[in-house]
Protein backbone atom coordinates (compact mmCIF):
# COMPACT_ATOMS: atom_id res chain seq x y z
CA UNK A 1 0.00 0.00 0.00
CA UNK A 2 1.46 3.32 -1.01
CA UNK A 3 1.36 6.02 1.56
CA UNK A 4 1.31 8.99 -0.79
CA UNK A 5 -1.31 11.35 0.54
CA UNK A 6 -3.33 13.41 -1.88
CA UNK A 7 -5.16 16.47 -0.79
CA UNK A 8 -5.37 18.57 -3.88
CA UNK A 9 -8.48 19.58 -5.75
CA UNK A 10 -10.47 16.72 -4.16
CA UNK A 11 -10.33 18.48 -0.79
CA UNK A 12 -9.93 15.37 1.29
CA UNK A 13 -7.18 12.97 2.18
CA UNK A 14 -6.91 9.56 0.68
CA UNK A 15 -4.21 7.06 -0.02
CA UNK A 16 -3.27 5.88 -3.46
CA UNK A 17 -2.90 2.14 -3.68
CA UNK A 18 -0.74 2.24 -6.80
CA UNK A 19 1.46 4.71 -8.58
CA UNK A 20 0.42 6.43 -11.80
CA UNK A 21 -3.28 5.74 -11.48
CA UNK A 22 -6.07 7.97 -12.63
CA UNK A 23 -8.41 9.50 -10.07
CA UNK A 24 -12.08 9.76 -10.97
CA UNK A 25 -14.46 11.61 -8.74
CA UNK A 26 -18.10 10.47 -8.54
CA UNK A 27 -20.38 12.69 -6.57
CA UNK A 28 -21.35 14.26 -4.18
CA UNK A 29 -23.96 14.97 -6.82
CA UNK A 30 -23.97 12.33 -9.49
CA UNK A 31 -26.64 10.55 -11.49
CA UNK A 32 -25.77 7.19 -10.01
CA UNK A 33 -25.60 8.24 -6.38
CA UNK A 34 -29.10 8.39 -4.98
CA UNK A 35 -28.56 11.07 -2.41
CA UNK A 36 -25.36 12.93 -1.83
CA UNK A 37 -22.44 10.66 -1.26
CA UNK A 38 -19.05 10.66 -2.81
CA UNK A 39 -16.90 7.96 -4.30
CA UNK A 40 -13.36 8.60 -5.46
CA UNK A 41 -12.28 5.84 -7.80
CA UNK A 42 -8.69 5.03 -8.49
CA UNK A 43 -8.44 3.67 -12.01
CA UNK A 44 -5.90 1.82 -14.03
CA UNK A 45 -7.28 2.08 -17.53
CA UNK A 46 -10.91 1.29 -16.88
CA UNK A 47 -10.25 -1.18 -14.09
CA UNK A 48 -10.98 0.01 -10.57
CA UNK A 49 -7.96 -0.37 -8.32
CA UNK A 50 -9.51 1.15 -5.24
CA UNK A 51 -12.45 3.21 -4.16
CA UNK A 52 -12.48 5.72 -1.33
CA UNK A 53 -15.79 6.77 0.11
CA UNK A 54 -16.72 10.02 1.68
CA UNK A 55 -20.06 10.34 3.40
CA UNK A 56 -21.61 12.89 5.68
CA UNK A 57 -23.07 15.30 3.14
CA UNK A 58 -26.56 14.73 4.52
CA UNK A 59 -25.55 14.70 8.17
CA UNK A 60 -28.16 16.70 10.06
CA UNK A 61 -27.34 15.69 13.61
CA UNK A 62 -30.52 13.74 14.19
CA UNK A 63 -29.03 11.97 17.22
CA UNK A 64 -28.06 15.26 18.81
CA UNK A 65 -31.51 16.70 18.18
CA UNK A 66 -33.11 13.61 19.72
CA UNK A 67 -31.50 14.44 23.06
CA UNK A 68 -33.53 17.64 23.17
CA UNK A 69 -36.88 16.34 22.06
CA UNK A 70 -39.59 14.31 23.72
CA UNK A 71 -40.06 10.69 22.69
CA UNK A 72 -43.01 11.58 20.48
CA UNK A 73 -41.24 14.68 19.21
CA UNK A 74 -38.54 12.59 17.63
CA UNK A 75 -40.89 10.66 15.34
CA UNK A 76 -40.98 13.36 12.60
CA UNK A 77 -37.19 13.19 12.41
CA UNK A 78 -37.29 9.46 11.72
CA UNK A 79 -39.19 10.21 8.50
CA UNK A 80 -36.13 12.01 7.26
CA UNK A 81 -33.77 9.09 7.70
CA UNK A 82 -34.75 6.60 5.07
CA UNK A 83 -36.95 8.83 2.96
CA UNK A 84 -37.81 5.99 0.61
CA UNK A 85 -39.65 4.05 3.31
CA UNK A 86 -40.43 6.46 6.14
CA UNK A 87 -43.19 4.39 7.73
CA UNK A 88 -40.79 1.57 8.53
CA UNK A 89 -38.58 4.02 10.41
CA UNK A 90 -41.59 5.29 12.37
CA UNK A 91 -42.66 1.77 13.31
CA UNK A 92 -39.14 0.72 14.19
CA UNK A 93 -38.60 3.70 16.48
CA UNK A 94 -42.00 3.37 18.13
CA UNK A 95 -41.34 -0.32 18.83
CA UNK A 96 -38.00 0.52 20.43
CA UNK A 97 -39.54 3.09 22.76
CA UNK A 98 -42.44 0.77 23.56
CA UNK A 99 -39.90 -1.88 24.49
CA UNK A 100 -38.22 0.64 26.77
CA UNK A 101 -41.53 1.53 28.39
CA UNK A 102 -42.61 -2.12 28.56
CA UNK A 103 -45.91 -1.69 26.75
CA UNK A 104 -47.55 -3.44 23.84
CA UNK A 105 -49.88 -1.99 21.24
CA UNK A 106 -53.34 -3.59 20.77
CA UNK A 107 -53.68 -6.20 18.04
CA UNK A 108 -55.46 -3.93 15.60
CA UNK A 109 -52.73 -1.33 15.86
CA UNK A 110 -50.10 -3.99 15.32
CA UNK A 111 -51.86 -5.37 12.24
CA UNK A 112 -52.27 -1.93 10.68
CA UNK A 113 -48.61 -1.27 11.36
CA UNK A 114 -47.75 -4.55 9.63
CA UNK A 115 -49.88 -3.70 6.59
CA UNK A 116 -48.38 -0.25 6.18
CA UNK A 117 -44.92 -1.61 6.92
CA UNK A 118 -45.15 -4.18 4.17
CA UNK A 119 -46.54 -1.70 1.66
CA UNK A 120 -43.59 0.55 2.39
CA UNK A 121 -41.22 -2.37 2.02
CA UNK A 122 -42.71 -2.97 -1.43
CA UNK A 123 -42.36 0.72 -2.28
CA UNK A 124 -38.74 0.67 -1.15
CA UNK A 125 -37.92 -2.40 -3.21
CA UNK A 126 -39.70 -0.88 -6.21
CA UNK A 127 -37.45 2.16 -5.98
CA UNK A 128 -34.36 0.06 -5.32
CA UNK A 129 -34.86 -2.17 -8.34
CA UNK A 130 -36.30 0.58 -10.53
CA UNK A 131 -33.44 3.00 -10.06
CA UNK A 132 -30.87 0.23 -10.16
CA UNK A 133 -31.92 -0.78 -13.66
CA UNK A 134 -32.26 2.85 -14.74
CA UNK A 135 -28.59 3.28 -13.86
CA UNK A 136 -27.90 0.32 -16.11
CA UNK A 137 -29.88 1.89 -18.94
CA UNK A 138 -33.29 0.22 -18.76
CA UNK A 139 -35.87 2.92 -18.25
CA UNK A 140 -39.11 1.02 -18.94
CA UNK A 141 -39.14 -1.00 -15.73
CA UNK A 142 -38.93 2.18 -13.77
CA UNK A 143 -42.25 3.36 -15.14
CA UNK A 144 -43.95 0.02 -14.48
CA UNK A 145 -42.75 0.21 -10.89
CA UNK A 146 -43.40 3.85 -10.24
CA UNK A 147 -47.01 3.46 -11.28
CA UNK A 148 -47.45 1.03 -8.38
CA UNK A 149 -45.37 3.15 -6.06
CA UNK A 150 -47.66 6.05 -6.79
CA UNK A 151 -50.67 3.91 -5.87
CA UNK A 152 -49.02 2.87 -2.62
CA UNK A 153 -48.28 6.50 -1.86
CA UNK A 154 -51.92 7.37 -2.53
CA UNK A 155 -52.91 4.81 0.08
CA UNK A 156 -50.36 6.21 2.52
CA UNK A 157 -51.70 9.68 1.90
CA UNK A 158 -55.22 8.51 2.62
CA UNK A 159 -54.24 6.80 5.86
CA UNK A 160 -51.67 9.25 7.19
CA UNK A 161 -52.36 12.54 5.47
CA UNK A 162 -48.88 12.94 4.01
CA UNK A 163 -47.01 11.12 1.31
CA UNK A 164 -43.40 11.27 2.39
CA UNK A 165 -43.17 12.82 5.83
CA UNK A 166 -45.59 10.39 7.32
CA UNK A 167 -45.09 10.47 11.12
CA UNK A 168 -47.37 7.47 11.10
CA UNK A 169 -46.89 6.04 14.58
CA UNK A 170 -47.21 7.42 18.06
CA UNK A 171 -45.65 5.86 21.11
CA UNK A 172 -48.26 3.31 22.14
CA UNK A 173 -50.09 3.05 18.84
CA UNK A 174 -50.72 4.90 15.62
CA UNK A 175 -51.95 8.42 15.04
CA UNK A 176 -55.52 7.49 14.11
CA UNK A 177 -57.57 4.57 12.90
CA UNK A 178 -57.67 3.83 9.20
CA UNK A 179 -60.43 5.33 7.01
CA UNK A 180 -63.53 3.30 6.11
CA UNK A 181 -62.49 2.34 2.58
CA UNK A 182 -59.03 1.19 3.67
CA UNK A 183 -59.84 -2.46 3.20
CA UNK A 184 -61.11 -2.11 -0.36
CA UNK A 185 -58.10 0.05 -1.27
CA UNK A 186 -55.73 -2.55 0.09
CA UNK A 187 -57.49 -5.31 -1.81
CA UNK A 188 -57.29 -3.26 -5.00
CA UNK A 189 -53.55 -2.83 -4.54
CA UNK A 190 -53.13 -6.53 -3.80
CA UNK A 191 -54.70 -7.19 -7.20
CA UNK A 192 -52.69 -4.57 -9.11
CA UNK A 193 -49.15 -4.76 -7.73
CA UNK A 194 -48.42 -8.37 -8.81
CA UNK A 195 -49.19 -7.40 -12.42
CA UNK A 196 -46.37 -4.86 -12.51
CA UNK A 197 -44.01 -7.18 -10.66
CA UNK A 198 -44.72 -9.90 -13.22
CA UNK A 199 -44.23 -7.43 -16.09
CA UNK A 200 -40.82 -6.45 -14.82
CA UNK A 201 -40.03 -10.07 -14.03
CA UNK A 202 -40.67 -10.95 -17.67
CA UNK A 203 -38.63 -7.98 -18.86
CA UNK A 204 -35.59 -8.47 -16.67
CA UNK A 205 -35.10 -11.85 -15.06
CA UNK A 206 -34.14 -13.74 -18.22
CA UNK A 207 -32.89 -10.69 -20.07
CA UNK A 208 -29.48 -11.44 -21.58
CA UNK A 209 -28.14 -7.89 -21.21
CA UNK A 210 -29.34 -7.59 -17.63
CA UNK A 211 -27.87 -10.96 -16.71
CA UNK A 212 -24.52 -10.09 -18.29
CA UNK A 213 -24.41 -6.85 -16.40
CA UNK A 214 -25.31 -8.31 -13.01
CA UNK A 215 -24.33 -11.99 -12.64
CA UNK A 216 -21.07 -12.35 -10.68
CA UNK A 217 -20.83 -8.59 -10.37
CA UNK A 218 -20.17 -7.38 -6.86
CA UNK A 219 -20.32 -10.83 -5.33
CA UNK A 220 -19.46 -11.17 -1.66
CA UNK A 221 -19.15 -14.34 0.36
CA UNK A 222 -21.38 -15.03 3.32
CA UNK A 223 -18.49 -14.93 5.81
CA UNK A 224 -17.33 -11.53 4.62
CA UNK A 225 -20.89 -10.23 4.56
CA UNK A 226 -21.47 -11.30 8.15
CA UNK A 227 -18.18 -9.84 9.28
CA UNK A 228 -19.02 -6.54 7.65
CA UNK A 229 -22.32 -6.42 9.51
CA UNK A 230 -24.57 -6.93 6.49
CA UNK A 231 -28.25 -7.42 7.14
CA UNK A 232 -31.36 -7.59 5.02
CA UNK A 233 -31.65 -8.51 1.32
CA UNK A 234 -27.94 -8.04 0.69
CA UNK A 235 -27.10 -10.62 3.36
CA UNK A 236 -29.88 -12.96 2.27
CA UNK A 237 -28.56 -12.84 -1.30
CA UNK A 238 -25.43 -14.59 0.00
CA UNK A 239 -27.54 -17.54 1.08
CA UNK A 240 -28.15 -16.97 4.78
CA UNK A 241 -31.73 -17.36 5.92
CA UNK A 242 -31.81 -14.48 8.37
CA UNK A 243 -34.91 -12.35 8.71
CA UNK A 244 -35.79 -10.70 12.00
CA UNK A 245 -39.47 -10.97 11.17
CA UNK A 246 -39.05 -14.75 11.43
CA UNK A 247 -36.20 -15.08 13.92
CA UNK A 248 -37.17 -12.46 16.47
CA UNK A 249 -40.80 -11.64 15.66
CA UNK A 250 -42.19 -8.28 16.65
CA UNK A 251 -45.50 -6.53 16.03
CA UNK A 252 -47.42 -9.81 15.46
CA UNK A 253 -45.24 -11.02 12.57
CA UNK A 254 -45.43 -14.50 14.12
CA UNK A 255 -49.10 -14.64 13.07
CA UNK A 256 -48.34 -14.64 9.37
CA UNK A 257 -47.14 -17.30 6.96
CA UNK A 258 -44.39 -16.17 4.63
CA UNK A 259 -41.14 -17.41 3.18
CA UNK A 260 -37.74 -15.83 3.40
CA UNK A 261 -36.15 -15.85 -0.06
CA UNK A 262 -32.40 -16.38 -0.24
CA UNK A 263 -29.85 -16.11 -3.02
CA UNK A 264 -26.76 -18.16 -3.73
CA UNK A 265 -23.78 -16.10 -4.83
CA UNK A 266 -24.41 -12.75 -3.18
CA UNK A 267 -24.04 -10.87 -6.45
CA UNK A 268 -26.10 -8.07 -7.91
CA UNK A 269 -28.40 -10.47 -9.75
CA UNK A 270 -29.19 -12.40 -6.57
CA UNK A 271 -30.00 -9.19 -4.74
CA UNK A 272 -32.44 -8.33 -7.49
CA UNK A 273 -34.07 -11.77 -7.27
CA UNK A 274 -34.31 -11.61 -3.47
CA UNK A 275 -35.99 -8.20 -3.61
CA UNK A 276 -38.46 -9.37 -6.27
CA UNK A 277 -39.47 -12.39 -4.22
CA UNK A 278 -39.65 -10.35 -1.02
CA UNK A 279 -42.23 -8.10 -2.60
CA UNK A 280 -44.40 -11.13 -3.38
CA UNK A 281 -43.99 -12.36 0.18
CA UNK A 282 -44.93 -8.93 1.51
CA UNK A 283 -48.12 -9.11 -0.52
CA UNK A 284 -48.82 -12.47 1.09
CA UNK A 285 -48.41 -10.94 4.54
CA UNK A 286 -50.71 -8.04 3.66
CA UNK A 287 -53.32 -10.48 2.32
CA UNK A 288 -53.35 -12.41 5.59
CA UNK A 289 -53.34 -9.27 7.70
CA UNK A 290 -56.25 -7.66 5.89
CA UNK A 291 -58.25 -10.93 5.97
CA UNK A 292 -57.79 -11.24 9.74
CA UNK A 293 -57.78 -7.55 10.67
CA UNK A 294 -59.07 -7.49 14.26
CA UNK A 295 -61.37 -4.83 15.67
CA UNK A 296 -60.85 -2.72 18.74
CA UNK A 297 -58.61 0.24 19.54
CA UNK A 298 -55.41 1.03 17.65
CA UNK A 299 -53.57 2.61 20.56
CA UNK A 300 -53.14 1.65 24.18
CA UNK A 301 -55.36 3.36 26.71
CA UNK A 302 -52.85 4.96 29.06
CA UNK A 303 -53.15 8.72 29.63
CA UNK A 304 -49.46 8.92 30.50
CA UNK A 305 -48.46 7.67 27.08
CA UNK A 306 -51.16 8.34 24.47
CA UNK A 307 -53.31 11.41 24.07
CA UNK A 308 -56.90 10.95 25.28
CA UNK A 309 -59.72 11.32 22.72
CA UNK A 310 -60.92 14.86 22.09
CA UNK A 311 -64.38 14.34 23.67
CA UNK A 312 -62.69 13.50 26.95
CA UNK A 313 -60.24 16.42 26.66
CA UNK A 314 -63.05 18.92 26.08
CA UNK A 315 -65.48 17.57 28.65
CA UNK A 316 -63.51 16.31 31.62
CA UNK A 317 -60.92 17.90 33.86
CA UNK A 318 -58.68 14.79 33.95
CA UNK A 319 -58.66 14.53 30.19
CA UNK A 320 -57.57 18.14 29.85
CA UNK A 321 -54.82 17.70 32.44
CA UNK A 322 -53.56 14.53 30.79
CA UNK A 323 -53.57 16.20 27.40
CA UNK A 324 -51.53 19.16 28.58
CA UNK A 325 -49.17 17.10 30.71
CA UNK A 326 -48.39 14.89 27.75
CA UNK A 327 -47.88 17.82 25.39
CA UNK A 328 -45.85 19.93 27.80
CA UNK A 329 -43.80 17.24 29.56
CA UNK A 330 -44.02 14.17 27.37
CA UNK A 331 -43.59 10.55 28.26
CA UNK A 332 -41.21 9.66 31.04
CA UNK A 333 -39.31 6.42 30.73
CA UNK A 334 -37.63 4.85 33.71
CA UNK A 335 -33.82 4.84 33.74
CA UNK A 336 -32.28 2.13 31.63
CA UNK A 337 -31.40 1.32 28.09
CA UNK A 338 -32.81 -0.64 25.21
CA UNK A 339 -31.63 -1.77 21.82
CA UNK A 340 -34.30 -2.90 19.43
CA UNK A 341 -33.75 -3.87 15.83
CA UNK A 342 -36.38 -4.43 13.17
CA UNK A 343 -36.21 -5.73 9.65
CA UNK A 344 -36.62 -2.78 7.32
CA UNK A 345 -36.22 -2.86 3.56
CA UNK A 346 -32.45 -2.46 3.65
CA UNK A 347 -31.65 -4.61 6.66
CA UNK A 348 -31.71 -4.19 10.37
CA UNK A 349 -32.63 -0.73 11.58
CA UNK A 350 -31.91 -0.51 15.27
CA UNK A 351 -32.45 2.10 17.92
CA UNK A 352 -30.26 2.17 21.01
CA UNK A 353 -31.89 4.41 23.59
CA UNK A 354 -30.48 5.36 26.98
CA UNK A 355 -32.95 6.92 29.36
CA UNK A 356 -32.11 8.71 32.59
CA UNK A 357 -35.70 8.96 33.74
CA UNK A 358 -36.49 12.24 32.04
CA UNK A 359 -38.86 13.02 29.21
CA UNK A 360 -35.96 13.26 26.77
CA UNK A 361 -33.78 10.33 25.77
CA UNK A 362 -30.35 10.77 27.32
CA UNK A 363 -28.77 9.22 24.27
CA UNK A 364 -30.30 7.87 21.11
CA UNK A 365 -28.29 6.01 18.54
CA UNK A 366 -29.66 4.96 15.21
CA UNK A 367 -28.15 1.89 13.64
CA UNK A 368 -28.73 2.37 9.93
CA UNK A 369 -28.45 -0.74 7.76
CA UNK A 370 -26.72 1.05 4.86
CA UNK A 371 -23.86 2.20 7.03
CA UNK A 372 -22.50 -1.30 7.50
CA UNK A 373 -23.26 -2.28 3.91
CA UNK A 374 -21.70 0.71 2.22
CA UNK A 375 -18.31 0.26 3.88
CA UNK A 376 -17.85 -2.97 1.91
CA UNK A 377 -18.27 -1.12 -1.39
CA UNK A 378 -14.51 -0.72 -2.09
CA UNK A 379 -14.01 -4.44 -1.63
CA UNK A 380 -16.88 -5.24 -3.98
CA UNK A 381 -15.80 -3.00 -6.84
CA UNK A 382 -12.13 -3.89 -6.83
CA UNK A 383 -11.04 -5.15 -10.25
CA UNK A 384 -14.32 -4.30 -11.96
CA UNK A 385 -15.34 -1.56 -14.41
CA UNK A 386 -16.90 1.79 -13.65
CA UNK A 387 -20.22 0.67 -15.10
CA UNK A 388 -20.18 -2.28 -12.70
CA UNK A 389 -19.60 0.06 -9.80
CA UNK A 390 -22.77 1.91 -10.76
CA UNK A 391 -24.75 -1.33 -10.91
CA UNK A 392 -23.43 -2.46 -7.52
CA UNK A 393 -24.14 0.88 -5.89
CA UNK A 394 -27.75 0.68 -7.05
CA UNK A 395 -28.15 -2.90 -5.86
CA UNK A 396 -26.95 -2.06 -2.35
CA UNK A 397 -29.76 0.50 -2.11
CA UNK A 398 -27.81 3.15 -0.23
CA UNK A 399 -30.07 5.88 1.08
CA UNK A 400 -27.93 8.83 2.05
CA UNK A 401 -30.41 10.24 4.54
CA UNK A 402 -30.14 7.08 6.57
CA UNK A 403 -26.42 6.70 6.04
CA UNK A 404 -25.57 10.12 7.44
CA UNK A 405 -28.53 10.78 9.74
Amino acid sequence: MGSEKDKGILMFTFERKKKDTMILNMGPSHNATHGTLRIVLELEGEIIVNATLEIGYLHRGIEKMAEHRTYNGFIPLTDRMNYVSPIMNNVSYALAVEKLLGIEVPKRGQYIRVIMNEFTRIADHLVAIGTNVVDMGALTNYFYFFKERERIYDLIEKVVGARLTTTFTRIGGIQKDVPGDFESDVRFLLKEIPKSINDVDRLLTKNRIFMDRTIDVGAITQERALEYGFTGPVLRATGLQWDLRKKQPYSSYEDFQFDVPIGENGDTYDRYLVRMEEMRQSLRIIQQAIDNLPGGPVSIDDPHITLPPKEIVYNTMEGLIHHFMLIMYGIKAKPGYVYFGTEVANGELGFYIVSDGEQYPYRLKVRPPCFAIFQAFPEMVKGLLISDAVAILGSLNIVAGELDR
Binding site: G56, Y228, Y352
Partner: protein, 167 residues
Protein backbone atom coordinates in the same frame (compact mmCIF):
# COMPACT_ATOMS: atom_id res chain seq x y z
CA UNK B 1 -29.39 -15.57 35.71
CA UNK B 2 -29.79 -16.44 32.08
CA UNK B 3 -27.80 -19.18 30.41
CA UNK B 4 -25.82 -16.79 28.22
CA UNK B 5 -24.64 -14.61 31.09
CA UNK B 6 -23.81 -17.70 33.13
CA UNK B 7 -21.69 -19.09 30.30
CA UNK B 8 -19.92 -15.78 29.91
CA UNK B 9 -19.20 -15.57 33.64
CA UNK B 10 -17.84 -19.11 33.69
CA UNK B 11 -15.67 -18.49 30.66
CA UNK B 12 -14.21 -15.09 31.50
CA UNK B 13 -14.40 -15.14 35.33
CA UNK B 14 -13.00 -11.89 36.79
CA UNK B 15 -12.65 -10.16 33.42
CA UNK B 16 -16.35 -9.35 33.63
CA UNK B 17 -16.75 -6.27 35.81
CA UNK B 18 -20.54 -6.36 35.95
CA UNK B 19 -23.57 -7.77 34.18
CA UNK B 20 -26.99 -6.29 33.55
CA UNK B 21 -30.06 -8.43 33.01
CA UNK B 22 -32.92 -6.03 33.61
CA UNK B 23 -32.83 -4.57 30.15
CA UNK B 24 -32.78 -6.10 26.69
CA UNK B 25 -30.46 -7.15 25.26
CA UNK B 26 -28.44 -8.18 28.30
CA UNK B 27 -25.12 -6.48 28.77
CA UNK B 28 -21.73 -7.17 30.28
CA UNK B 29 -19.03 -4.70 31.20
CA UNK B 30 -15.34 -5.31 30.65
CA UNK B 31 -12.30 -3.09 31.01
CA UNK B 32 -10.76 -1.65 27.81
CA UNK B 33 -7.64 -3.75 28.33
CA UNK B 34 -9.55 -7.03 28.09
CA UNK B 35 -11.85 -5.92 25.31
CA UNK B 36 -10.16 -7.48 22.28
CA UNK B 37 -9.55 -10.78 24.05
CA UNK B 38 -13.15 -11.03 25.23
CA UNK B 39 -14.50 -10.02 21.82
CA UNK B 40 -12.37 -12.57 19.98
CA UNK B 41 -13.63 -15.31 22.28
CA UNK B 42 -17.22 -14.11 21.96
CA UNK B 43 -16.95 -14.25 18.19
CA UNK B 44 -15.28 -17.63 17.80
CA UNK B 45 -16.16 -19.83 20.75
CA UNK B 46 -19.03 -22.23 20.67
CA UNK B 47 -21.70 -21.15 23.14
CA UNK B 48 -21.48 -17.51 22.00
CA UNK B 49 -20.68 -17.25 18.25
CA UNK B 50 -21.43 -13.53 18.00
CA UNK B 51 -20.53 -13.26 14.34
CA UNK B 52 -21.78 -9.71 13.82
CA UNK B 53 -21.07 -6.39 15.46
CA UNK B 54 -24.14 -4.38 14.62
CA UNK B 55 -23.17 -1.10 16.12
CA UNK B 56 -20.52 0.65 18.15
CA UNK B 57 -21.48 3.79 19.93
CA UNK B 58 -20.74 5.89 22.96
CA UNK B 59 -22.64 7.58 25.74
CA UNK B 60 -21.29 10.75 27.32
CA UNK B 61 -21.87 11.02 31.07
CA UNK B 62 -20.65 14.55 31.58
CA UNK B 63 -19.10 15.38 34.98
CA UNK B 64 -18.77 11.72 35.86
CA UNK B 65 -15.68 9.60 36.16
CA UNK B 66 -15.05 7.81 33.88
CA UNK B 67 -16.78 10.04 31.40
CA UNK B 68 -17.66 7.81 28.46
CA UNK B 69 -19.36 4.49 28.07
CA UNK B 70 -18.51 2.70 24.83
CA UNK B 71 -21.17 0.25 23.73
CA UNK B 72 -20.77 -2.70 21.34
CA UNK B 73 -24.01 -4.25 20.13
CA UNK B 74 -23.44 -7.84 19.07
CA UNK B 75 -25.65 -10.29 17.24
CA UNK B 76 -25.25 -14.00 16.71
CA UNK B 77 -27.04 -15.26 13.63
CA UNK B 78 -25.97 -18.79 14.56
CA UNK B 79 -27.48 -18.88 18.04
CA UNK B 80 -30.06 -16.14 17.44
CA UNK B 81 -29.03 -14.08 20.45
CA UNK B 82 -27.94 -10.57 21.19
CA UNK B 83 -25.51 -9.10 23.68
CA UNK B 84 -24.24 -5.66 24.56
CA UNK B 85 -20.64 -5.29 25.66
CA UNK B 86 -19.85 -2.08 27.49
CA UNK B 87 -16.58 -0.53 28.52
CA UNK B 88 -15.76 2.60 30.51
CA UNK B 89 -13.37 5.11 29.03
CA UNK B 90 -12.23 8.37 30.54
CA UNK B 91 -11.45 11.50 28.59
CA UNK B 92 -7.73 10.98 28.08
CA UNK B 93 -7.97 7.24 27.50
CA UNK B 94 -8.31 5.18 24.33
CA UNK B 95 -10.29 2.10 23.41
CA UNK B 96 -8.65 -0.72 21.48
CA UNK B 97 -9.90 -1.31 17.97
CA UNK B 98 -11.96 -4.41 17.23
CA UNK B 99 -11.46 -4.14 13.47
CA UNK B 100 -9.19 -7.17 13.77
CA UNK B 101 -12.13 -9.20 15.04
CA UNK B 102 -14.87 -7.87 12.75
CA UNK B 103 -13.74 -5.80 9.77
CA UNK B 104 -17.17 -4.16 9.81
CA UNK B 105 -16.26 -2.29 12.98
CA UNK B 106 -14.19 0.09 10.84
CA UNK B 107 -16.75 2.79 10.10
CA UNK B 108 -18.48 2.48 13.43
CA UNK B 109 -15.22 3.19 15.23
CA UNK B 110 -14.56 6.14 12.96
CA UNK B 111 -17.99 7.46 13.87
CA UNK B 112 -17.24 6.92 17.56
CA UNK B 113 -14.08 8.96 17.17
CA UNK B 114 -15.82 11.62 15.12
CA UNK B 115 -18.79 12.09 17.40
CA UNK B 116 -17.20 11.63 20.83
CA UNK B 117 -13.49 12.20 20.30
CA UNK B 118 -12.57 8.85 21.82
CA UNK B 119 -9.38 7.75 20.05
CA UNK B 120 -9.44 4.17 18.85
CA UNK B 121 -6.06 2.51 19.23
CA UNK B 122 -5.01 0.27 16.37
CA UNK B 123 -7.58 1.47 13.89
CA UNK B 124 -6.23 1.32 10.32
CA UNK B 125 -7.46 4.73 9.20
CA UNK B 126 -8.92 6.81 11.99
CA UNK B 127 -10.44 9.84 10.35
CA UNK B 128 -13.63 11.78 10.75
CA UNK B 129 -16.49 10.23 8.86
CA UNK B 130 -19.67 12.29 9.16
CA UNK B 131 -18.12 15.68 9.87
CA UNK B 132 -15.57 17.17 7.52
CA UNK B 133 -11.83 17.22 8.01
CA UNK B 134 -10.81 20.16 10.10
CA UNK B 135 -14.05 20.36 12.04
CA UNK B 136 -13.49 21.40 15.62
CA UNK B 137 -15.15 19.65 18.49
CA UNK B 138 -17.11 16.44 18.79
CA UNK B 139 -20.83 16.97 18.27
CA UNK B 140 -22.36 14.29 20.44
CA UNK B 141 -20.50 15.28 23.57
CA UNK B 142 -22.88 16.77 26.06
CA UNK B 143 -20.88 20.01 26.30
CA UNK B 144 -21.26 20.64 22.58
CA UNK B 145 -24.04 23.16 21.97
CA UNK B 146 -27.11 22.20 19.96
CA UNK B 147 -27.01 25.45 18.04
CA UNK B 148 -23.81 26.77 16.53
CA UNK B 149 -20.82 24.80 15.48
CA UNK B 150 -18.06 24.99 18.03
CA UNK B 151 -18.24 24.73 21.82
CA UNK B 152 -18.00 28.38 22.80
CA UNK B 153 -19.00 28.05 26.41
CA UNK B 154 -20.71 25.49 28.53
CA UNK B 155 -24.30 26.34 29.15
CA UNK B 156 -26.18 24.28 31.67
CA UNK B 157 -29.72 24.42 32.79
CA UNK B 158 -29.20 25.56 36.41
CA UNK B 159 -31.15 22.64 37.89
CA UNK B 160 -29.49 20.05 35.72
CA UNK B 161 -25.73 19.92 35.73
CA UNK B 162 -25.60 16.85 33.57
CA UNK B 163 -26.49 18.26 30.20
CA UNK B 164 -26.44 21.46 28.25
CA UNK B 165 -29.74 22.76 27.10
CA UNK B 166 -30.43 25.94 25.24
CA UNK B 167 -33.52 28.00 25.49
Amino acid sequence: MSELIENIKNRFKDKIISTQEDFRPRSIKVSPGDLVEVMTALKNEEPFRFNQVLDITGVDFLNQKPRFLVVYILLSTVKNQRLIVETDVDESETVPSVTGVWCGADWFERELYDMFGIPVKGHPWLKRILMWEGFEGHPLRKDFPVRGTTPREQRYAPWDQRRTREY
